[in-house]
């Protein structure tokens, strides 16, 4: 039988606030000792009370607006209870009843819209590392602010699931609300998949695959679930409503917890945090801070940057933001695409891009023939060199001895020297006999003689003139 899949996705986005959601300790625990970014509140000492981080509210508004969502003027927090060492308070502070972000949508590249049901603020849990006979607890991540974004069941293929996650990731990165590092769990996806016979109006029983941290694994997990559930249904068996885990190595999902074993979280309004009431002015002010989104850049650069290059560059919000500042978008975008992204360290480089002035100066030198395009790429890479990076394009080109020789007199002298060299005699004869392609060899000889500083166009013209005499 043919089945129609229906997919809904929940995504946890870690917000890049300076401090945690409910305390003043550092929210950025990268490269820090375990349990070094933990306040008495996160540690859940007796008598400690949460202090809501206003910055997280602002970022949530921005994230919501990036997804075209309503922002609720009144929202509040609730407690979700469970016992586990990753949850020192014995409950997670979340927004179960009244979330801050209301309905909206995310647009896919295909033009399809995935509706957002709501998104809410909550604190992250700690991290456990399990060993044979013991487990270690790291509470650095406790109460890192998260927004959990919940879609309507609007997705109907593995590819669209992939595209939604990627589109969402771009939106969050462009909105500047997260570091967007998927490898380190800055965004994590839970995917609900169900199948119904084609044409049926009712949804089938769903399974939830939890904690996927790449678009590819989302796509593969959905593909696997569709196949697995189809097989069950074809055999007349039932799909069990359960939580399943994803094994990236085997490409399979495995059952973890069925609905019957599901926890009762005993939700309760959080009495330690008063309701959050936002004025229209506040929401408008924060909404206005939403920077340009991927779609805005696509419109801006359409026809200037080739579609395929634009699609690659769009994965890097800082590059788009930089391109919006420079004059010579075409050249700079090419450097970004061909040089920067080819470098292994490109991700590191993104944090410290050259200034728009450095880039524009460099582009202008190429336009003015002061620098060859190869030379320009070398200079471009030097912008990322800690020793030279802060210098302007011309200074670097000079130091690297890359400035092109455009002095015709000086070029003629080099050309003459090359032509006087007996090693080129055969080539000269061949050219005169009509084999024009040997001109390239001769240009190459001149370039070599000039140590790469000659302008190849000018050299070619001089050679043609001299050989036609």
């Amino acid at each position: 039988m043919k089945y129609y899949p229906t997919i809904g996705i929940e995504c946890h986005v870690q917000l890049n606030t300076k401090t945690k959601l409910f305390s003043e300790v550092d929210n950025d625990a990268r490269n820090k000792e375990p349990n070094s970014c933990v306040s008495p509140v996160d540690y859940a000492l007796p008598g400690m009370l949460p202090r809501l981080n206003g910055e997280a509210i602002k970022l949530a508004i921005r994230a919501g607006r990036a997804m075209n969502c309503e922002i609720n003027a009144s929202s509040r927090f609730d407690r979700k209870h469970y016992f586990y060492p990753d949850s020192p308070k014995g409950y997670q502070i979340t927004q179960f009843y009244h979330p801050i972000i209301g309905e909206g949508y995310v647009e896919l590249p295909s033009g399809a819209k995935v509706r957002i049901e709501h998104a809410h603020l909550e604190g992250d849990a700690g991290k456990l590392t399990h060993f044979d006979t013991y487990s270690l607890v790291d509470l650095n991540r406790v109460d890192t602010p998260l927004i959990e974004i919940v879609t309507m069941p609007d997705i109907h293929s593995a590819k669209d699931a992939h595209d939604y996650c990627k589109a969402l990731w771009r939106l969050m990165c462009y909105a500047g609300v997260t570091n967007g590092d998927l490898y380190n769990g800055n965004m994590r996806f839970d995917v609900n998949t169900s199948l119904a016979p084609e044409g049926s109006t009712e949804l089938g029983t769903r399974t939830e695959v939890k904690n996927l941290n790449s678009f590819r694994s989302v796509e593969r997990a959905v593909e696997y679930e569709i196949k697995r559930q189809s097989k069950l249904l074809d055999a007349g068996e039932k799909v069990i409503q359960e939580t399943r885990g994803w094994n990236d190595a085997t490409g399979e999902t495995t059952g973890q917890r069925s609905k019957e074993e599901a926890k009762d979280y005993r939700y309760m309004p959080e009495p330690d945090i008063p309701p959050i009431n936002l004025s229209k002015e506040f929401i408008d002010t924060e909404s206005a801070k939403l920077p340009m989104m991927p779609k805005d850049y696509q419109e801006k650069f359409k026809g200037v940057i080739a579609d395929d290059i634009l699609e690659i560059l769009l994965d890097y919000a800082p590059l788009m933001q930089k391109l919006a500042e420079v004059k010579n978008v075409k050249r700079v975008s090419n450097w970004f695409a061909s040089v920067l992204l080819a470098e292994e360290k490109s991700a590191e480089y993104l944090n410290d891009l050259p200034t728009a002035m450095q880039l524009d100066d460099l582009a202008e030198m190429v336009e003015k023939n002061e620098l060859s395009s190869t030379g320009a790429k070398d200079v471009f890479l030097k912008f990322f060199d800690p020793q030279m990076g802060k210098r302007d394009a011309k200074t670097i080109a000079k130091e690297m001895n890359l400035l092109q020789e455009n002095d015709l007199g000086a070029l003629e002298a080099i050309v003459d020297a090359v032509l006087a060299n007996p090693a080129t005699a055969q080539a000269q004869a061949d050219y005169k006999a009509g084999q024009e392609k040997v001109l390239g060899f001769l240009v190459g000889q001149v370039m070599k003689e000039s140590k790469g500083k000659a302008n190849p166009g000018a050299v070619s013209e001089i050679l043609k003139k001299k050989l036609s005499k």
Binding site: L45, M48, S135, Y267
Partner: protein, 458 residues
């Protein structure tokens, strides 16, 4: 109260307080004494005074600290086994403010474990005895603090009041006990019982001391988001005219001697020109039921953090993770704690939330509205604190419902978040103290405390 001066040394005051504390050891008032730190601090204050340096408004005044207030001095146990080994790295806001003014904590007082109870019999360290009759309970949960003030060991003591835990022991021992408007005094650094009704307050021997302590302890605290903007010190004085009494509280379930004491006070007020208004507040009869749904729910939630993992007691017998949780909590909690956790988890559980918790919250709103209406008619309400004077030790400990019924007149006030001051109002023929409470509208705290003087018969 007398503060330290050239004529009245802090060391002398602290030594006297410590001596008395030891003299009354058999009352089981203190969980621990803070002898060394207290004497050192007293010496520091005396030295300052000798040099002519300024000292605080509570310089050298010995006080007793209910054992659920976090302080770096000694263990903060909340009189419960699971916290018995707990040494706090944090000082609660109230303690910080008191000590900034030079007050000296001489000991931590016994209480019902986690403040769950009305008699201090639920303490891991055994019951505290009543100051007037050692066969009887001190009241609770702040029993130790009430008795410490009643026996004149200290000038004042801290308390926490979630459903009467300051006012009821105050009335059982004949001292003043104040529960402020919710949010007036910071809860930061006090072992939480029920977050939406917990209020920090004091036991004193007179209203002036209460006023001074409230001046010092009140105020908005960035560490407690539920605190109100400062208002206490800047309250406009307002003279009262009309005093309400609640019709529904005047019934046969209330001890006749307490009814008489209330009647005598209203007559006295009438003689001073006040108008006595009989109020009908029929919704209050639901308060106890609402309280024993809302409070256990918050209790169950707030006690979730005591899991034997990070601090406090951990069962040695536990063999795996779920046993660490289960055994540490089972050994570490008192029976009343477990009872409330069970009730709380039940009313919050999926499928029951709407029927219990949500409905209770709706009823709570009705109770608040009823108080609002009452205070549109009268300035203050005068009621007994509890239906009976101090009962015998062991009398109700095995009958939780009978124990809960003792709270019937105190819990509506916590649900409404309004202030209430328990004031001494004579004794029964058997010599047991009787307490009445003056209840006011939200933020009337300062005027309410001053009004209490009107009840004093010179």
């Amino acid at each position: 109260m007398k503060i330290a001066s050239k004529e009245n040394s802090a060391v002398k005051m602290v030594k006297e307080a410590l001596e008395k504390a030891k003299k009354y050891e058999s009352y089981n008032i203190f969980v621990s004494l803070n002898e060394e730190n207290a004497l050192r601090k007293a010496e520091e204050i005396d030295a300052k005074i000798a040099k002519g340096e300024p000292v605080g408004r509570l310089a050298g005044v010995p006080y007793a600290l209910k054992d659920n207030f976090l302080s770096r001095e000694g263990n903060t146990t909340a009189s419960v086994k699971i916290l018995a080994p707990f040494k706090s790295p944090i000082t609660s806001t109230v303690v910080r403010k008191l000590e900034d003014e030079g007050a000296i904590m001489i000991g931590r007082t016994n209480m019902d474990a986690f403040a769950h109870g009305s008699s201090t019999e639920n303490s891991y360290f055994g019951p505290t005895k009543n100051s007037k009759d050692t066969e009887r309970v001190a009241g609770g949960s702040s029993g130790g603090s009430a008795v410490a003030v009643a026996l004149d060991i200290v000038e004042f003591a801290t308390g926490s009041d979630t459903g009467g835990s300051i006012r009821q022991p105050a009335s059982f021992n004949g001292v003043y006990g104040f529960k402020p408007t919710y949010g007036t005094v910071s809860r930061y650094g006090v072992v939480a019982m029920a977050s939406s009704t917990d209020c920090m307050g004091f036991f004193t021997k007179n209203t002036d001391d209460m006023d001074l302590l409230m001046e010092i302890a009140s105020g908005q605290d960035p560490y407690d988001m539920t605190t109100l903007p400062d208002y206490y010190s800047t309250t406009e004085p307002k003279a009262a005219k009309k005093i309400g009494v609640i019709k529904e509280f005047d019934n046969d379930a209330v001890n006749p001697e307490i009814r008489e004491a209330l009647k005598a006070k209203t007559e006295f007020l009438k003689s001073k020109g006040y108008e006595i208004v009989e109020l009908s507040m029929p919704t209050l009869k639901y308060a106890l039921a609402v309280y024993y749904i809302v409070v256990p729910a918050e209790v169950a939630s707030n006690l979730s953090r005591y899991d034997g993992i990070r601090y406090g007691y951990r069962s040695e017998e536990a063999k795996d993770l779920s046993e660490i949780f289960a055994k540490s909590r089972n050994d570490g909690f008192m029976p009343e704690n477990k009872r409330r956790v069970m009730i709380g988890n039940f009313v919050l559980s999926s499928g029951f939330y709407d029927a219990y918790y949500l409905k209770a919250q709706k009823a709570r709103t009705k109770i608040i509205e009823e108080y609002n209406k009452a205070f549109s008619e009268v300035d203050y309400i005068l009621t007994p604190v509890a239906p009976n004077p101090a009962f015998k030790l062991g009398e109700k400990v095995n009958d939780p419902v009978a124990m809960y019924l003792e709270d019937v007149m105190s819990v509506p006030i916590n649900l409404a978040g309004v202030p209430s001051l328990a004031v001494p109002a004579g004794e029964t023929k058997a010599g047991l103290p009787i307490g009445l409470q003056i209840v006011g509208p939200r933020r009337s705290d300062k005027n309410l405390i001053n009004f209490a003087k009107e009840l004093e018969e010179k």
